[in-house]
Symmetry: C2
Subunit: 431 residues, 2 copies
Amino acid sequence: MTDSVKLVFNPAGSPASARGFSAIGVHAGFRPDPERLDMALVVADEPCAAAATFTTNVFCAAPVRVSREHLDEGAPGQPAYGCARAVVINSGIANAATGERGLEAARETCELVGEAVGCPAAEVLVASTGVIGQHLRLEPFATGVPAALAALAAADGPEARADQGLAAARAIMTTDTRPKHGAVAFSGDGIGYPGATFTVGAMAKGAGMIMPNMATMIAVITTDAPLTPPDLSAALTASVNRSFNKVTVDSDTSTNDTCFALASGAAAPGGPTFTPGTPAFAAFQEALDELACTLARAMAADGEGATRLITVTVRGAATADDADAAARTVANSPLVKTAVYGHDANWGRVAAALGRSGARFSQEDVDIDILGLPVCRAGLVVDFDEDEALRRFEEPEVAIEVDLHAGEESTTMWTCDFSHEYVTINGDYRS
Amino acid sequence: MTDSVKLVFNPAGSPASARGFSAIGVHAGFRPDPERLDMALVVADEPCAAAATFTTNVFCAAPVRVSREHLDEGAPGQPAYGCARAVVINSGIANAATGERGLEAARETCELVGEAVGCPAAEVLVASTGVIGQHLRLEPFATGVPAALAALAAADGPEARADQGLAAARAIMTTDTRPKHGAVAFSGDGIGYPGATFTVGAMAKGAGMIMPNMATMIAVITTDAPLTPPDLSAALTASVNRSFNKVTVDSDTSTNDTCFALASGAAAPGGPTFTPGTPAFAAFQEALDELACTLARAMAADGEGATRLITVTVRGAATADDADAAARTVANSPLVKTAVYGHDANWGRVAAALGRSGARFSQEDVDIDILGLPVCRAGLVVDFDEDEALRRFEEPEVAIEVDLHAGEESTTMWTCDFSHEYVTINGDYRS
């Protein structure tokens, strides 16, 4: 991006932060606890550009199929984009492994939201997160959607609207211990839109890519920048590949993973759209990347039972695929993750994971740092200060840095440690 | 194999069970505890056919490289075979990530054993298991090897020799809670060797493919059947692919994984070798498979902190690779493994793992049984008796059976559950 563009991060932001959008979370009744929000609605003032990335899991859930249809997607795993007016998300039930009846429920949800909002069902995107194999009831939508729209209409001023946006972020939580949301703003000065300020807002849920049973990572991103659906899709795909796709808690890709992006253009009405190759598009991409990476890190840090965020950086890989394979194998290694939990700078486990990752390198070339301490040079052990390592393990983030010295490619993955609590949560989840 | 051949399994067998071989374990001094056996020696009366499979980990250990050289192997991952007289294995130190000095130590170990046994160093195979990144001392070999040979020479009768074989199995243990060994015998009647009885004996260590830091799966198989080195290699590779390569505890392939096979021919001296395509070779292959699968299951069941052996069977896969990918992804899923630990017949986690495995199938076709109970049919939930499931979880072995209905291929993988104890062992290992 150009040096003159400055990004301003707002940790209290949400999908409601971008002009042209409202967002709210309500208790609709998917969950028994009346205090627990369980339905989020994001509504655009006008039909707007929309794009999405979806899980590649063969066992994809009904809402994934229906949202794909609504975005005219071709094959699974391909970019999906089109036009949308609203996004509805329930938590508690994943509507996965529910067959034809599940597809019907997802379609009826879109009908119901379309009627209430005043748009075709095809302009409604839907996502679900929760238990697999249970059927979704429509009654909570029938009461929850009108209640949500009434509350949005009654919102009095920007503060109330901001609070509603934060409620949306809470409504999509499952095993998350914290809501995940934010916004990034950048000025149009210097990128061809003088006087304008553009905002990207987002919410996400997911304690890592972690619980297929609680059906997993969902994000909604809004922006008031003007983009065409294919350009929005290109930016989203690039950003997701650098952020959410670099998070792994237990090597899982769930049945329901979904990331939606909507662009209203409301910050520059009538202005030209941001086009790839322009400073404006570069600024938008950077804002989107920053927001998505922030939320991705928050997911990894909120991994079930996590006590530490682990950042695995691999440099010097021969190809981008090698970098990804090496970093992903280290980040997914239960032995690396339990070592971090035990505050053990155990580079042998990192080396063994690298060695079986499929990445090409020579063991004689490998350097490994843990927590900033060189622990392996040229494939050989380096004496390091174990006491200093133990001190550094007190930090909430543990950096594992690898240089394969096999090329120029690099990447970063985020994960968390494996704790007793992880076993407790996942061993006792349904009981 | 022909119906007339009967396999007889001997749980008290070891590499010493096959004629023409002696085996023993001693305390040589790699470990501080004088009560703990830490060096195993297997010696053939004469130079004999030898074959091996080794880890494909790029960070392979020095003894792997040296044993490969001694078996004239081409590329890593390719079959290795040749002639050998002795196998020496130490536990406590893996001699991995030790550079040139490590290679030198492994070569000197072979020199030392060769001199003591009376054979060229190139006829000695070497393996190590233990901590990565520490250098191997030669002094324990210098005293341990002569002591082992003296004890073998002093052995008085078959019982003493059998006990020595069992000591060898104990000497290679690291985090194993139980020694792993056995033998299978079959008669030569009906397969062209009337009056002869052939034996395949083995020992193995490895609590699953589990601790790179403790450097991992090692097996030594002996037989008194007559085979040429390439035929022995072919049988060994086939058998390892059906057994040890189907065990996964935490998705790891260690730096030191090694499986040696030696064939003396002593049960049919002067007779023709077993040739692929003959009943004799088929009988040998079946005996080898049974022994290797028994030891592989024992490894999975002895996974660190394991409370249950998990057997994952995938049927109806389009290809053998699809079957392997599907079964392996389920067996490696921390969510599946924690669910079994929690006695939860959570088929949603199995489905999600299948869906991301890369195997080709339609979710509408998938059937899943857990512990013999149908829990998913045609991709949809099946009501099952949760109390009955809880009762069945009391068994030591948990069967997860999948039919993808996408073809004719099938496979079985073995793993174990993920327990609090696993986290404790691996989180606290070095401290």
